[in-house]
Amino acid sequence: MIRTVGLIYEANGHGPRILNGIGLTVARGERVGLVGPSGAGKSTLGYHLCGVHTLALNGHSRGTLHLEGQDAIHGGPRGFGGMVLQNPETQLFCRTVGEEVALGLPVGSGEPGLGAILDRTGLQAIREQEIATLSLGWKQRVSISGMLAMAPKALLLDEPTNYLDGRAADALFDLLDDLGDTTVIVADHDERRLRNWADRIIRLEDGTVVLDVPAAGYLPSPPLERRTDPGSVGGILLAMEDLHFAYEKARPIFQGFSLDLREGEAVALLGSNGAGKTTLLRLAKGLLKPGSGRIRAASGRPLMREVGLVFQNPDDGLFAASVEDECAFLPRNLGLERPRDRARAVLARLGLAGMADQVPFTLSYGEKRRVSLASVLAGGARILCLDEPTAGLDRGNLEILAELLKEYAREGGGVLFATHDPAFAAAVATRTIRLDGGRRDP
């Protein structure tokens, strides 16, 4: 159904080659997993295979691309491919679930068509519900349904699990298993999950296919090495005592929660979305005040100064003209001496010294994550909180991040991080805490 020969793609028509002569065929109904490091060209290849490259990209494609026997190098046939991006929030347009799904229906389909799609994707019961009230997992499901409504031949999902917890990711792949003869292509870093779901795994590196095998024969990258040494643990850095907190009175998040973070510790917070992980980090930083209970840094300094918090999305903070300026921002705001020297030192420590003069927006996602971390470390906080630091990172960047956090703890800092990735937690954490509606699970 899909055939490429010598497919080349150059950004802006003259930039570096993102795809470097790709040749492959994909059969109707096949389940394909695209894996590879960040920047390998997975998304770009996915766009071409679904025929949406002329909409999604701004460069120049060459070579052969046939979709159902038709030449598609200059644009795929209308209705052939659908696409679901990482962040469901930016793809959904209508107010209710039913309206959103109906948007993709062919003219004249009417209620039977809409009902069929909603039934197929398990959304019938919530068709009148406002999309804004749904969890990210359900929003992702609505995105998929909206694309399925136009009965595409191929469906691409680009890193769909980045914002989902384990349960939601499982549900997503269960749905993807049940799409009949629609060819489904998923680009993701979760190689194990892809291997269990796909018929075939294609691995890309530097725009070239380096491996194309049946999924059963694919060996995913080994997980990060499980941490065996408990590290040496010192005095208390951060004490949380008997916390009570609720956004709404009727639904408390924490009821008597306590936690001590010590020097040398790396504590992982696990739990599904809505369990309270992010809320706990924000309480630790001092962005939220508990209804009752106490949070204090052992140093006695204000939490806003003592605790560094790295948010999930690095794009929420990056703004400066250079990476070095970005990292000097916090020390400058805190009135610390020689902010640029501090920035350079942190960049060197994180292996980013060579990027000091680059514009932050030109960096890859993994590099932006590291810059975001560096910009917080430059403030000299002894307590580091991270919210979902692994989302969207490839294996190489995960290793770097794991080492950084372990080293930070070894040097006497304390790390508190929220994650959906149990393997990363096992590799880094000296202790894990599972939260369930704000309660600590035994």
């Binding site: 949406v52 909409l55 052939f80």
Partner: protein
């Protein structure tokens, strides 16, 4: 969106239509969406900035909380570099303000007049001075800002404000404040633009249909 494209039909109908960004004159889908989200951002920024200005006691002749609004408007124009963008922007802002901030600028639908005319001045200078990319940002901003203030002042006089030395002095101060705010907004817009103009998604939106 172009009315030249036919209604969506399923693939089985055998349509040979190629999937391309919507063609024809006018704005593409991404550009329309971008324009709308920037107007939304203008409001959102204002909602956050205004109480801050008041709590910090910065209110006065120089409406500091307007600086982000000017900056966002100019960034929109730099991204969608064609005549009419800011007329549309101001019209949209005025219409939404009638719902969300009915007392802003002038009460009721009256605000449409000075805002759209201000957009016209801005667009005209941006388009007319295309050969001087940096100059046009400042010129358009300041001239547009002054034009808007003069028009608002004129409408107030038309509604009964006496044309006397005291009111002339008051309007003069407003003009001075407006010039300073628009100058600052233009400066910031230029700094932001220089940092982001190479961003691939921005280039994609600029390219349009």
């Amino acid at each position: 969106m172009s009315s030249q494209l036919s209604p969506h039909r399923p693939w089985e109908a055998g349509m040979n239509e190629r999937l391309k960004p919507c063609s024809g004159p006018g704005y593409g889908t991404a550009q329309v969406v971008f324009l709308a989200t920037m107007v939304a951002l203008d409001f959102a920024f204002g909602w956050v900035a205004k109480p801050l200005v008041q709590s910090l006691g910065l209110g006065g002749v120089i409406k500091v909380e307007m600086i982000p609004a000017v900056m966002l408007m100019l960034l929109t124009r730099l991204t969608l570099d064609r005549f009419g963008v800011l007329i549309a922007y101001q019209a949209a802002w005025a219409l939404v303000a009638m719902v969300l901030m009915p007392g802003a600028v002038l009460p009721g639908p009256l605000k449409l007049v000075p805002l759209m005319l201000q957009g016209l001045f801005l667009d005209a200078i941006f388009t007319g001075c295309r050969r001087w990319p940096t100059f046009r940002i400042f010129a358009a901003s300041v001239v547009g800002g002054l034009a808007g203030s003069i028009l608002v002042g004129g409408l107030r006089v038309m509604m009964g404000m006496p044309w006397a030395r005291s009111t002339q002095a008051y309007l003069g101060l407003q003009l001075l404040g407006s010039a300073l705010v628009h100058l600052a907004g233009a400066g910031l817009a230029l700094v932001v633009w220089r940092r982001v103009e190479a961003h691939p998604a921005l280039q994609w939106i600029k390219a349009g249909p």
